[in-house]
Each structure stands twice: as C-alpha cells, then as structure tokens.
C-alpha cells in the first residue's frame, strides 16, 4: 500500500464535526467534474490511491477513469463496501428482508423466494458474495488492490461475534478478486484479537488514530500498545479528528507511531491537499532520521 491514500468523505458531505460544512461540501461537489478535479489535485501531489465507498456516484467517476486510461494508468481504487446509509435508510423503510429483496440481484432472489425462504436461510454467505459482486461491478477494469468492509458492518459483526462472516469476506475477496481484503473498524484492538484467533494473519485494518484519541475505542494507550507489539497492517484514518487537531500536530503524532503503513486523509482544496501531503513527507523524514540516528 502507498504511504498516503486519498479519501472521499468530503465528496459525499461526510463531516464529523459540522453539518454546515457538510452542506457546503455537498454544494461544492454536486458536479462530478469537481470530484475529478480534486482527485487530480491529489494525483499532482503524488497520491495515486483513492479509497472510497461504493456510493452510486463513484460509478460515474469510475467511468471517467476507464475512459482516460493513459491519465490514470497507475491509479488505484480501494473500494469500501457497503455504502451504509443506502442500506440503513432502506432498512428503516423496507425492513431487513425488504432491503435484501431490494438490493440482492433480482434473478437470485426471485428463484430463491420461489423455493421458499427456508432454502435461502441456509445460504447467507452466498447472499453476501452476491452483494459484494453487485457492489464491485462499478470497478470493472480498474485496479482495486485492497477491498474493504465498512466499519458499520465490521463492527456490527464483531459485536455479534460473527467471526465466520468476517473471515468469509476475507476469503471471498482473495478468491474471487485475487486482491487483499481489508477491514475498517472503530474497535481495532478487539477486531485484531478476533481475526488473529480465526487465523487471519497480519490483517489490513483501517481505523481511527489521532492525537486527540477520538473514536479510539478502549483508549489511545491501548492502540499505541497494539501498534508497538502486534503484527497488523494499519491504515490510520480520522487523523485530524474531524478538524479538532491542528494539521501539524496531528500529522506529527501519526508519523511518530510505529507500524502505520498508510495514512488516509481527505480534503477539498488543492492547498489543503498539498499541505497535508507535505506535512506527512516532512515528519516521515524527521522520524526516519531519528530512527536511523538511534542505531
């Protein structure tokens, strides 16, 4: 994985500290051209991986990427599925069974419902696989070296103790897409314990890590200990804690931590993208120098 990954929250009005900023972002990015422009700023800054949810609008961005193969030759996307609000709102409206009927490909459900619900009840993992395939359709012919399960699903399964389902996701992604599976979580230490016990070694985990300790369940110290002592490939997200920490302090903290393979961030302007990227480079150099001089 690359050291820096570009995220998509800003494109879809996800702002963890301000509804007003969310709306401003929704207005700014209502046209896909603006999203593409901003992705290009990140490429100019040397970031060649875009980590994004399987939001409907990403399909259009993928079309654009496919139609400009030369420009995006080295470009990679890390899909994160599912786009949770699509399903959450559907569950409120249609119920759990209704949502599955709505989103699982038609033929499959049609044939299964003909055979009765009982048949289906034995084959949940096949339903999951069909839903993964449905979400992955928009990324055809695009490099997707890591495919992630969104935190709301990862953490739901984690709390329920549905280890088998988490492992099945991991296995299916490897088998069908020949790529790595990753997990987004707000409960990194607990998830790592569970995955290790289930035989998933050195998993890719994307999780909140920031100087403020925001959304680090169980506490910042626990996360720091895990990073120091365990085998895990970590992507740090929410490094600015939604804007609560000044960028310089935030990045300095992240770069000082061991075992963080990648840093995920999102920004709306060229200035902010360049600032964050150069801060990461600056502190990476500083800490590498510190490590070398300690030898």
């Amino acid at each position: 994985m690359e050291r820096i990954l570009f995220g998509d929250n800003q494109f879809f009005a996800v702002n963890h500290i301000s509804d007003e900023k969310s709306r401003a972002q929704a207005i700014k990015f209502q046209n896909d051209v603006e999203i593409i422009k901003t992705l290009d700023y990140s490429i100019d800054a040397g970031v060649h991986t875009f980590m994004c949810t399987t939001h409907d609008r990403i399909a259009t961005i993928c079309d654009y990427i496919r139609s400009h193969p030369a420009k995006y030759e080295d470009y990679k996307i890390y899909p994160c599925m599912p786009y949770a609000h699509k399903y959450a709102n559907a569950v409120t409206e249609l119920g759990i069974v209704g949502t599955i009927k709505e989103y699982v490909p038609n033929n499959f459900m049609g044939s299964l419902f003909k055979g009765g619900v009982a048949i289906m009840s034995k084959d949940y993992l096949s339903i999951m696989e069909l839903m993964i395939d449905a979400e992955m359709k928009m990324f055809r012919n695009i490099k997707t070296p890591v495919i992630f399960l969104q935190n709301v699903i990862t953490d739901l399964l984690l709390g329920l103790g549905m280890t088998e389902v988490l492992v099945a996701f991991h296995k299916y992604i490897r088998k069908k897409y020949d790529t790595e599976a990753g997990f987004i979580t707000m409960n990194m230490p607990k998830l790592l314990d569970l995955l290790e016990k289930a035989g998933v070694e050195n998993p890719i985990i994307c999780t909140s890590i920031n100087k403020a300790g925001f959304r680090m369940s169980g506490g910042k110290e626990l996360y720091e200990t895990v990073l120091k002592t365990r085998k895990v490939r970590v992507i740090a997200m929410q490094v600015l804690a939604g804007g609560a920490i000044p960028p310089k302090d935030a990045i300095k903290y992240i770069c000082s931590l061991p075992n963080i393979e990648s840093i995920l961030f999102g920004a709306s302007s060229r200035g902010n993208i360049n600032e964050t990227v150069s801060l990461i480079h600056e502190f990476d150099k500083q800490y590498q120098y510190d490590i070398l001089s300690n030898f």
Partner: protein, 337 residues
C-alpha cells in the same frame, strides 16, 4: 455478569445486540424475533440462544434485564410481561402508543423498583448534554423561544411496506422522528405543556405523515417551534438541531457542533462574549466498543451500570419518555381540534 435478553432483532435490536455482545459485564441470555431469516442467521453465526416466542425466551433464559426493540404497538404488553418477571427494561422509543399504556408501565416499574430506560439517545450526545448544562445553570438567562428541528431521508419516494408506514403499529414521522426532538426539548428547555397548533403533512406516504410542524408552549413565557421532516433527501442521515434564545445569549446545537453566543462577558468558564464554536470532539468520552455513534454505546452502558447501581437510573426513564408520549398525543389532538 448481567444476563440480558433481547426481544426484536430488527434495525435497532441488532445494533443493541452487537453492543451487548461486546459488553464485558453482559451475558446475552436469549434473543427472540419472529423473522425466521434473521433468527436463522443469528442461530447459525452467533452463540446466542434464539427463540421465536419471546415468552419462552423470558421463561427459559430468565434474563435479569430485557431490551425491547419491537414495533411500538407491542411495547405495552411485552414490557409489562417482562417486568412481571422482575426484569429491568430498556425499551426502544417511543414508549407506548397511548398515554394510558405508558402510565401503566411507569407505575409497574416504580412499584417493582426496576431499572427502566428508553432509547432516546440524543441525551447521550456530548453537545446536547452541554446545552442542558448551560440552560440548567441559567447561563442563557430567561429563555424566550426555541426551535427543535430534525430532517432526514427516510421516505423519499412513494414506496413503503413495513410497520413504520402503519400508524396502528407506531409508524409515521411524529412517532419515529419527531419523538426524538420532543424528548430533547422536554429535557433541555422544560416539559412542553401546550400545543398551540400543528400541521402534519404527507409528501410521499399514503397512510402516515412525513412531516410535523407544531407551535409549542412550555409556559406562558417560553414557546417554540417544532419542525420535523423525514422526507428530506438533502440530508445523508437524521440531523437534529436545537436553537434556544434567551435574555443572555443564544444556542444553536446539533449532534456535531455547538454554537453559543453570549451578549456579555458574564458567561461560563471556557466561553467568552460573542460567538463560541465547540465540536463534539470536545465533549465525547471514548467508549469501550463503538457502533454507529458513541451515544448508542453510552446509553447501553448507562443502563447496565444502573442495574449494577453504579449510576442513578435518572436519564431517559419511563417517566420522561411517558411525558414525550403525552406531548405526541397532544399534537395529535391539536390536529383533530
């Protein structure tokens, strides 16, 4: 270990179940649901004992506490039934469909001295708790007016077929969405005592309202506006805002951001004259296990701690939820009038 049972593994129930499954002081003693598909999945992939009949679950699992997350229509019977078996209760909101049913549950819980809590999670959101503190300590001076709003994208087209679209089961924007805002106003500004008028409007739904607009009165001096619409697709998820105007200042608060304006330097520590902007990150304590928002973990943890007698059982009690039910009923009456 507290033995907990869950009745209803739908959207909220599954979420509670996951939090309970991860809670270090909880043993999930049983789960009941009428959906074969949901129950089969739980049977197959979790270690929780599963039941199709909730009474069988109560009888066999003998839980110390029960989470009731079924359509509101069933709350009265199921909650009463569980309390008669001396179980502490966490019920989803709203408490009941009628004021009489709610009153009965309040009485039983009080008589049997059972821990009782309802899932109005806004009270566990740091920004709203800070608003409560500011108002309670008089930092806004005399309150003149408030506006409680909630918007979200639940029903954004003409299509529906579940209990939330059935008024007899507890569906509709008033019970599902507006109840949160009413409950928050009751908590922060004071109990609503009068409804001066309401408009309940449907945009897409056939059988229920999609929006609620009401003029509310706490006292002759304190009045406000309720504006709730669950058919607003410009929101990604439910967004609740409370605006309060007082003689010394004004508050505009949502789940993420608190903006406070003080007229003079006479303001609490950490605030100054003019606008103050604070974020949820300033008010949020880490939880041990996170799913969907700290407030969901915090309310479950608070309930468990209340059973362990580590905290008083005084947030989101049946009594306070019953008052919210009363206001809901007053709003309905204000239309018929």
């Amino acid at each position: 270990m507290i033995k907990v049972g869950l009745i209803g593994a739908g959207k909220m129930g599954i979420s509670h179940l996951s939090l309970l499954g991860a809670h270090p002081d909880v043993e999930v003693a049983g789960v009941s649901d009428t959906s074969k598909m949901v129950l089969d999945a739980l049977k197959k992939y979790t270690s929780f004992p599963c039941y199709t009949d909730y009474e069988e679950m109560l009888r066999k699992a003998k839980p110390d506490a029960v989470f009731v997350a079924v359509p509101t229509r069933f709350h009265a019977d199921m909650v009463q039934n569980a309390m008669e078996r001396d179980a502490h209760i966490f019920a989803e909101k709203p408490l009941c469909l009628t004021v009489l049913d709610g009153q009965k549950l309040v009485e039983i819980a009080t008589r049997k001295n059972l821990v009782n809590q309802v899932g109005y999670h806004n009270k566990f959101i740091g920004t709203f708790r800070e608003v409560k503190r500011l108002v309670e300590n008089g930092y806004l001076g005399d309150i003149f007016h408030f506006v409680g709003e909630a918007y979200g994208p639940v029903v954004v087209r003409q299509k529906q077929n579940n209990w939330r679209s059935n008024p007899a089961e507890g569906g509709g924007c008033l019970l599902d969405y507006a109840s949160h805002v009413i409950d928050l106003i009751n908590y922060v500004v004071g109990p609503i005592t009068k409804i001066k008028g309401s408009i309940l409007k449907s945009f897409y739904s056939k059988n229920v309202e999609d929006s609620v607009f009401s003029l509310l009165e706490v006292s002759s001096e304190v009045s406000g506006v309720l504006s709730v619409n669950w058919s607003d697709e410009t929101y990604r998820k439910m967004s609740t805002t409370l605006t309060i105007i007082g003689s010394k200042g004004k508050i505009v608060c949502d789940a993420n951001e608190l903006k406070v304006h003080f007229k003079t330097t006479d303001c609490p520590q950490g605030y100054s004259k003019g606008w103050n902007v604070k974020y949820i990150t300033d008010f949020t304590d880490n939880v041990d296990f996170y799913l969907r928002g700290e407030e969901y973990s915090a309310q479950v943890d608070y309930f468990i701690k209340a059973i362990q007698k580590k905290v008083p059982n005084n947030i989101n009690t049946f009594q306070s939820a019953w008052h919210t039910d009363k206001v809901i009923s007053m709003i309905k009456q204000s239309i018929n009038n």
